[in-house]
Symmetry: C2
Subunit: 432 residues, 2 copies
């Protein structure tokens, strides 16, 4: 006789609808493997009259989300509404009622994660959120469990499919940013208002969640420096390509110092990055995502897959639901490793190698003058190319790693240098 575990679902949009269909399809397999029968007993929707393609029992549908949380027959609450409120209150109420919660809500976790983790721990129930960081890619569970004892120094990844689709299109087909965005919108990979994706807010939220778990410290969305891809030109892409790099929007979380008591500094940022073509992240194309993890003993690890979409996201949610159901049957839960507020190292102090494309007058001594400005800010040059542009010359530098403030200082001074016509390109370069 299988144990029945009753699910209350908050939200039935793309992910919720996929989840309903997936539970229907996989019910007998899950019973067979775990002895647990999943049953959706209550579903909160915005509009009860909307036609849905998923097999939803009309008797379970309500437009009053609090009914789902308060229903004593609900064993596990699944939240796929998104946004901060009412999701936050509903989840806190569910946890306070002793119900495990599964959520895919990156915005909420990146802003109120610590509050939710504490509430789950206080109630002694699971709060699982695999789908919030990289869709179908198992990364939260490996970080929480497999790598719990690892000394992780850096977690970085391509965690936004929209921007990766656009950048792949620009790189592989030579499209302009505008055309690539328009095609992403046509294919449903980008929203009509693409700001959250293209300006790096979505990737920033995911970076905050992963940084928090990887480094056991409290990191919120506001701690993340972010720059998007809307300023990138086809020329940037083609220069990077010629130099042996692919431009990716990377979310990078780094830990400085090895102290385990929360005194290490943490840097979290999202920006377009030149990734050397022999790095595994360089060949992650289209709408795929990947997270690259560096540990002292494990070495380099990478997790690759679909970061968005109804079915992939629902797959990750369902994995969490089964986990929560198994734990519930055993009267058990898994605490989120959570520490004090992280000491954030600001972008000014974070280090990268840099790519700099400077347009100059074609006059004797110009290279020496420009190189002098760069060196004067403590930046050391790894490689350099000069090309005639007809009306002048273009100097392309790749520097060794240095602090952001040094490069910004050099750029500011270059802009005031008379032989410099302009800084036509500036990008961070992924280094060791």
């Amino acid at each position: 006789m299988a144990d029945v575990v009753k699910i209350g679902l908050l939200g039935c949009g793309t992910v919720g609808g996929s989840l309903v269909g997936l539970i229907h399809k996989r019910r007998s397999a899950i019973e067979h493997t775990t002895g647990i029968t999943l049953e959706i007993v209550k579903v909160a929707v915005r509009s009860a009259s909307r036609e849905r393609s998923c097999p939803l029992d009309p008797d379970t549908v309500t437009t009053d989300a609090s009914q789902v949380v308060q229903d004593p027959s609900v064993d596990i609450v699944v939240e796929v509404i998104g946004g901060i409120e009412p999701a936050r209150t509903l989840i806190l109420d569910a946890l306070a009622a002793g119900k495990p919660v599964v959520t895919a809500n990156k915005e909420l976790l990146a802003n109120c994660g610590a509050e939710l983790y504490a509430a789950a721990d206080k109630a002694g129930v699971d709060l699982l959120f695999e789908a919030s960081a990289a869709g179908a890619i198992p990364i939260v569970r490996p970080l929480r469990e497999s790598l719990l004892a690892e000394d992780l120094s850096r977690v970085m990844g391509i965690v936004n499919g929209t921007t990766n689709f656009i950048l792949s299109k620009m790189s592989l087909e030579g499209s302009s940013y505008g055309d690539a965005l328009a095609e992403a919108q046509r294919l449903g990979y980008a929203e009509r208002d693409p700001t959250a994706d293209v300006e790096g807010f979505d990737a920033g939220a995911k970076a905050a969640i992963m940084a928090g778990i990887a480094f056991g410290a409290r990191v919120v969305a506001g701690d993340v420096y972010h720059e998007g891809i809307s300023q990138l030109t086809a020329a940037d892409i083609s220069f990077a390509k010629r130099l042996g790099y692919s431009i990716k929007l990377l979310a990078i979380a780094e830990k400085f110092g090895t102290a385990d008591d929360g005194t290490s500094e943490i840097g979290v940022r999202v920006h377009p990055t030149m990734v050397p073509n022999d790095h595994p992240l360089a060949s992650v194309n289209g709408s795929f995502n990947a997270v690259f993890v560096e540990g002292a003993a494990s070495g380099e690890l990478m997790f690759y897959g679909r970061g968005a979409g109804g079915d992939p996201t629902a797959s990750a949610v369902l994995g969490d639901v089964v986990d929560a159901a198994l734990n519930l049957r055993q009267g058990n839960y898994r605490r989120v490793p959570s520490g004090p507020k992280a000491k954030i190292r600001s972008i000014d102090q974070l280090e990268s190698a840099f790519y700099l494309n400077v347009e100059v007058e074609d006059l004797p001594g110009v290279l020496s003058q420009v190189a002098g400005v760069i060196g004067g800010h403590g930046l050391s040059i790894e490689s350099m190319e000069q090309h005639g542009t007809g009306s002048g010359a273009r100097l392309v530098f790749i520097t060794h790693a240095a602090a952001e403030h040094a490069m910004q200082g050099a750029i500011a001074e270059l802009k005031k240098t008379s032989v410099v016509k302009g800084v036509a390109g500036f990008l961070r370069v992924l280094g060791e």
Copy 2:
């Protein structure tokens, strides 16, 4: 006050030594995150007098492994001896005594997994073995937990670093098999007797473990068809390269049919495979490993990292130890999803696309005759090239996917065809 969890370690070679060092280094971090203090209280070694670089308390060392298992103060047993006996008996004794076991022993699990899983389940304790399938790469836990509810159709990967190092060397530097193997031996990536690696036995054991977990059925090492890389020539590699493929030793586990009651057939094989260069597995080079997973809802996933080596393997073992310690504190364990003996589909019936390189007399009608033999066995040709070789001609075919027996029939008939001088190359090609 932290809970002390006492570890008994069976074996203190490369992995065991790394683990002792790693626990020493990470003890306070683990305490900080979990409230658990790990203490190694007993270590079984072959030679008590051997010098060791790891910080081992001499009072804990014994040459009698049964003492470790029987010691009532030992909470968790870690087995890193390798091989079937005495590891099997020691693990069964530990489980029977109610002690969770962490093991990295692929040979044992691939041969006696079902017996061990059943013993762990009967005792109600954890049997964790992340390090047995792909070293530091978290793949066992994602398959057991994150993807437990997924309908997985195929799990395949590069799971042997020695052969991947040799193949990368042959491909990137044009080395011969013999030279590449010699360098792998010089660098310590290959054993003096490299048979287990180069003939695919090691990869086969890992494939059996992953197939069993992914498909919830009992798969043993003897179920795995395997072919190694020792017959590959520099010519095979360079032909593959020119056609846009990389040759990788892939372990491939496939499920045929979607039944969840154990009636699906399973195919498990290891052989050199031509992987299209745009496939994520193609760019996994050197001693790195990667496992590619295909699920109905999740889509394609890949897990990449170090598949061997003391520290990476110890990292995976330590992750399991912490997991077991947390579960032990909660009086909890996680059952290995295990089903009946798998119905194995034999290699004859398994499908691939094929690469075939046929040397022929340069006579009129030869192409038609050779193509006729291939077509007569039900193989359909996807692409074909003909080149003069001076004394004759070379015909290179890539076929669409077909059953192995069809291709073997065609090869047998070609060898008896008078205009055919020989089959100079034959490889399976990775398809959809």
